[in-house]
């Protein structure tokens, strides 16, 4: 199922995703409601499950708040495509099971509202609106396993259970 693209520029920081005043929230549903509140308070209401975020360089720079990727995942965003990511955000997103794809050509080519599909195994992004496709380097096996477990915490728990 393709998702609609929301397109952002460079250096979108985590304060824009979940402003500081919301950092006492912890449950994903509450965080979903304030997703991108720093851009506009009603941003979350425009997002449908399966939509994708597309951005320029350094997406998620700034604070280490995991609330940022948690909120983006909880509101229904299926993956983020960007030229590059802030490094803490990048790890956090993987750790909570939200795919973050470094794909500069896709990031440059996809426009707001384009319908986009992602194949994680082959490393292909398809833009159904423009009839284009772009490639990215697929994740190594251990990261794919984190995604399959829906995050690092479940992954570690599963590993621990297996070792018993």
């Amino acid at each position: 199922m393709p998702g609609k693209a929301f397109v952002f520029g460079d250096n979108i920081d985590t304060d824009l995703m979940v402003p500081g005043r919301y950092l006492t929230l912890s449950n994903p549903e509450e965080l979903a409601a304030v997703c991108m509140a720093g851009v506009s308070e009603d941003f979350a209401s425009r997002i449908s499950r399966g939509d994708v975020f597309v951005a320029g360089s350094n997406f998620g720079c700034g604070s280490s708040r995991e609330h940022a990727p948690v909120s983006i995942k909880a509101v229904g965003i299926s993956c983020i495509i960007a030229t590059s990511f802030g490094r803490i955000f990048y790890r956090n997103a993987i750790n909570i099971g939200l795919p973050v794809l470094e794909a500069p050509i896709a990031a440059k080519s996809i426009r707001e509202g384009d319908d986009v599909c992602v194949d994680m195994q082959s490393g292909t992004i398809t833009n159904c609106t423009k009839d284009e496709s772009y490639i990215f380097t697929p994740f190594p096996q251990f990261i794919m396993e984190i995604f399959r477990a829906n995050g690092l915490s479940n992954f570690i728990k599963n590993q621990k259970t297996m070792c018993k």
């Binding site: 824009l16 005043r21 708040r65 915490s153």
Partner: protein
């Protein structure tokens, strides 16, 4: 303490290429003679730090992982500093999760109201972070401890939970970028001006995923406080860590505080850098980063027409005793502008007490500033100094993102303590040379 040199690089002795300080620390921690940029390693952790926001996120994740205790009750350190003293009921609830956990797990190093300081001011002071350490913290400014010659980096709550549970975390060895600062730092300039200038030159993603190494005669002459400020903001250029080679100043600082052995590493002369920048800073002006990125650095003389509603002096970037001394030297006998709410926050109880004994707090209060117990509050728009629509603040903190300190249509300008003090007096951004 100088550590034993690295052995032959490999059996054949072919690979003689030198290593950076960051590479040496990581290699030593995994028991290897060499690591290379890009290599994935799993390193043992000397310190795992969390604050009231990130600990509260990590605690349920650690439970989800199936762990009911931390790997070492000495090495997992909690500091309640963000929404503390509790700003509202949600903050109180969040902190209670951390407080209950800390007591239940017998964390030896749990810092709460009365004892706590801003985490990155507090940990070096207490001797918890030492040269040669590998440290993670649930806070992006954990890179501060690179000023002591440690590898130290920020993580989110899930990595934090894994670190708390297992005392180990995977890293990709970062490539290094070297900055060499030559000349003599002019009066009123500090580590803050150097780092704002640097981020201005390379951009907020100029060191993405990299280690930044600060070197040169200016760094050698810089106080530990100034070095903390510089490494603190390495993350604002996207860096994984900032680092400064330890020297006699470092040793003087840590030997009085350390309760365990520590190790000094130096980069080899032939170590490999992805990029090297040379700056002569002898004629540098005080720097101000204008909204809405820390990389928007300008000479203070370009922005002296900007009127202000608030000045904040403090934070993990500039809440140390040298910062307060610098501000007090300008505020002594002066009054802050009647329209400028001036908030001064010592970074720790030790800094606060020292400032009292030196008479700095009296200078601030007589000048019309408010002095607060340590907290991160205003820096991240949490509490204690939130801005209304259209308001402008000049702050010695580290981020001037949209809405960082309050309303999305408020503005934050970043600068060092001297510019902050002078601006508080003038009611607009001011060059300290206008006052003193």
């Amino acid at each position: 303490m100088i550590c034993p040199p690295f052995g032959p690089m490999n059996d054949k002795g072919v690979d003689k290429m030198g290593m950076t300080i960051t590479e040496k620390i990581l290699a030593k921690k995994i028991g290897a003679n060499k690591v290379e940029p890009g290599e994935l390693i799993s390193a043992k952790l000397d310190v795992v730090l969390a604050n009231d926001i990130t600990a509260a996120g990590a605690i349920p994740e650690m439970e989800k992982m199936g762990y009911d205790k931390v790997f070492d009750s000495k090495k997992v350190i909690f500091v309640m500093d963000h929404f503390v003293p509790n700003s509202d009921r949600n903050a109180a609830k969040q902190c209670k999760v951390c407080r209950d956990f800390a007591r239940e797990k017998d964390l030896e190093n749990f810092y709460d109201v009365g004892e706590m300081g801003i985490e990155h001011v507090l940990l070096p002071e207490k001797g918890h972070v030492l040269p040669g350490d590998v440290i993670i913290g649930g806070d992006s400014h954990t890179c501060t401890y690179g000023a002591l010659g440690a590898f130290s980096t920020g993580v989110g709550s899930t990595d934090l939970a894994a670190g708390m549970a297992k005392g180990e975390l995977w890293f990709k060895v970062p490539a290094s970028i070297k900055f060499i600062y030559e000349g003599q730092l002019p009066r009123f300039l500090s580590g803050k001006d150097l780092i704002l200038y640097t981020i201005g030159k390379i951009g907020v993603d100029g060191a993405l995923y990299k280690a930044i190494e600060f070197t040169g005669q200016v760094i050698e002459a810089l106080s530990l406080d100034g070095r903390f400020t510089m490494c603190n903001m390495a993350v604002e250029a996207g860096a994984k860590n900032g680092i400064i080679a330890p020297d006699k100043k470092t040793d003087d600082y840590v030997k009085a505080r350390a309760k365990r052995p520590y190790c000094f590493y130096q980069s080899d002369a032939d170590s490999v850098y992805e990029n090297v920048f040379n700056f002569d800073v002898s004629s540098l002006e005080p720097q101000v980063a204008v909204p809405h990125l820390p990389s928007n650095a300008k000479n203070v003389s370009e922005v002296t027409d900007v009127k202000l509603d608030q000045v904040v002096l403090g934070s993990c970037t500039n809440g140390r005793i040298s910062d307060l001394r610098e501000a007090a030297s300008i505020l002594r006998g002066q009054k802050v502008h009647p329209f400028v709410r001036t908030i001064i926050i010592p970074g720790s109880q030790e800094v606060y007490l020292q400032a009292i004994s030196e008479g700095l707090i009296e200078i601030f209060i007589k000048a019309g500033a408010a002095v607060s117990t340590p907290t991160c509050g205003p820096c991240f728009g949490g509490h204690l100094g939130i801005l209304a629509e259209g308001e402008r603040c000049l702050s010695t903190t580290n981020r001037n993102f949209v809405g960082r300190m309050g309303h999305p249509k408020s503005e934050v300008y970043l600068a060092g303590p001297a510019v902050a003090a002078a601006s508080a007096i003038k009611g607009r951004i001011a060059n300290p040379s206008e006052i003193a």
